[in-house]
């Protein structure tokens, strides 16, 4: 695709990308959201969505106790129903990685990776040295996935080379120890054209996943944004035969939203992406709603939030 990764060459390449038809993208995403998914398809979609959840707690008020509770829920989302799958990963801040890893290992969650947000999440406003240390710390503490943020200021000023180089360097730090998810923070990128450009920039720089948002900025994972990102990974696959994952995060709070995301994945990127290796949903409140909907399908009557954990 491109071999020369100088600023000039990146700019030239990004310029060749077709412009996004904003109205068309919104209309297509909205049209796909009207698909009706019921009964056995819904049951399948709920379990798929549960296995794709990156169960997240990213609060200033996080405590080791809360992280342990999240880990327990990650392994067994519904303690009363062993047929519920475990979630895709647990996503925490750097200093909670060790606690998450050890508690997951203790309770039979060895297969569940811990994802750490790094590189001065959520703003990304720190020196490279700090960002690098942030990443190294998280990997040393046992993180198998690094969720880094891009420098939106640099991107919006057109300094693509800077954004690119930073992703490359963090990817080198991750090596084969951790997957790299690159957070574009689409809520700050203003246009869908920028979303497309940033997606390509991240993929070219070696991202394993592209992620919509930090969850700290609204709007977050809107349907048109996810649509454009899914198109990007699909086209990137046809160019390079490499499948990059997508992770919408922020604002996906109920089962209906999650199922809409799955429809988008299937219709835009293709069914190959319908697995937790290539599609994740960053969420916290979503899991409870998925469990309630699952209970409703199982029992035949409406469930109550009193029967799922508070978190």
């Amino acid at each position: 695709m491109i071999t020369d990764t100088s600023e000039g060459s990146l700019k030239a390449f990004l310029k060749t990308l077709p412009q996004v038809d904003e109205v068309g993208a919104s209309a297509r995403a909205a049209m796909l959201a009207t698909r009706s998914i019921k009964t056995s398809s819904k049951a399948w979609a709920i379990d798929m969505a549960i296995s794709m959840v990156d169960l997240t707690t990213l609060e200033g008020a996080d405590t080791p106790g809360k992280v342990r509770a999240i880990c327990a829920k990650a392994v067994r989302p519904d303690a009363t129903d062993l047929s519920v799958p475990s979630v895709g990963a647990v996503c925490v801040y750097n200093d909670m990685v060790h606690i998450a890893r050890t508690s997951l290992d203790l309770i039979g969650g060895r297969a569940i990776p811990v994802a750490a947000v790094a590189t001065a999440f959520p703003s990304g406003r720190a020196s490279y040295a700090v960002k690098a240390q942030d990443t190294i710390d998280a990997i040393n503490a046992g993180a198998a996935e690094i969720d880094m943020v891009i420098d939106r200021g640099a991107f919006l000023s057109g300094r693509y080379g800077e954004v690119f180089d930073e992703i490359v360097k963090i990817k080198e730090l991750c090596g084969d120890k951790a997957h790299l998810k690159v957070i574009l923070e689409t809520g700050e990128l203003v246009t869908l054209d920028n979303v497309r450009k940033a997606s390509y920039l991240a993929m070219l720089a070696g991202a394993d996943f592209i992620k919509t948002s930090t969850g700290k900025v609204t709007p977050a994972a809107t349907a048109p944004v996810v649509f454009v990102m899914l198109e990007a990974v699909r086209d990137y696959y046809s160019m390079t035969q490499t499948r990059i994952g997508v992770k919408p995060a922020g604002g996906i709070r109920n089962t209906k939203d999650a199922i809409k995301q799955l429809v988008l994945v299937n219709e835009v990127a293709g069914p190959e992406w319908l697995n937790p290796q290539l599609f994740r949903i960053g969420a916290s409140a979503l899991l409870n709603d998925l469990l309630l909907q699952r209970m409703k399908l199982r029992d035949g009557y409406y469930a109550s939030p009193s029967y799922v954990t508070l978190d």
Partner: protein
């Protein structure tokens, strides 16, 4: 050219549901025909579906924390405000009651006035119920022990038919004055006063979702309301004995409290939807 009255096209009211402070149509798009006392078509209110019921439960549940935590004084004020608003809309309600129930102007007016007074009566109870039904209990130990009644949660009400407004208001006021939130299914045959009363609630500082009004078929909604795990109690006063039995069977999963009332003005209307919390507080330490 001036339009003479006969040329003017009537602007008829669309009777809608009241869910979460808004007036949506049924998500099913269905309506049914309500007849006046002479059997002529009167209106097409919404025929609520189980999805509407579910939306109403979500609205009621999310309104519960704030409404139950509001001071009893404040809840009383809001109920009183509803009485004020009802007084101002009495003419419209009298008209609807006469059309539906076929009663005299005098009887309809009395029903509306009685409903206003009933709201004031329940408004007064809000800050007194804990004093009447609560207690400090003698215990043999260094504890201060007291019991207070607390609202049970989300209550579904199937309002009894005639007198339509009085039954509706009485059931509703008793449930919400203590801090519960409610989903009230209006009488299938006489739903118009309930819908008009929703407009009164919408302008009485009552927080959105505290009361949600559905119109339609009780037979259709009873099994879903009774089995819904997030409804804590049912006022089944408007149900037939067959429907009541069905509700009792479907309601066992969450030990739903199901009650039937015959009077609109009774403290049991409040107390049946409260639970007693007892607290042991150590003293002398």
């Amino acid at each position: 050219m001036a339009v003479t009255p006969s040329q003017r096209i009537d602007v008829l009211k669309t009777y809608k549901l009241f869910i979460g402070g808004a007036f949506p149509r049924s998500e099913s798009g269905r309506v049914y025909s309500v007849k006046d006392s002479k059997g002529n078509h009167l209106a097409n209110p919404s025929l609520a579906s189980r999805k509407d019921l579910r939306d109403a439960v979500v609205a009621a549940r999310s309104a519960f924390p704030a409404w139950s935590a509001a001071t009893a004084y404040n809840r009383g004020q809001i109920l009183y405000r509803m009485a004020e608003m009802l007084e101002g809309r009495s003419e419209q309600l009298v008209t609807e009651i006469i059309a539906l129930e076929g009663v005299t102007v005098k009887s309809a007016t009395e029903q509306v006035q009685e409903s206003v007074d009933l709201l004031v009566w329940y408004a007064g109870w809000s800050d007194k119920i804990a004093t009447i039904a609560g207690s400090t209990n003698p215990v043999s130990g260094p504890y201060y022990n007291f019991s207070t009644p607390e609202p049970i949660g989300v209550v579904a009400i199937f309002a009894a038919a005639k007198p339509s407004l009085l039954n509706f208001v009485g059931a509703l006021a008793g449930v919400i004055t203590s801090g519960n939130t409610a989903i009230i299914v209006a009488s299938e045959k006489y739903p118009l006063p309930a819908i008009t009363f929703s407009e009164i609630m919408a302008t009485s500082d009552l927080p959105a979702g505290v009361v949600n009004v559905l119109t339609g078929s009780a037979t259709e909604l009873v099994p879903w309301a009774a089995s819904h795990m997030d409804i804590d109690a049912i006022d089944a006063s408007g149900l037939t004995s067959k429907q009541l039995k069905e509700a009792q069977l479907a309601g066992v999963a969450n030990l739903k409290r199901i009650r039937v009332h015959t009077q609109s003005k009774a403290p049991e209307r409040i107390l049946n939807y409260m639970e007693t919390k007892t607290v042991w507080h150590p003293i002398g330490i």
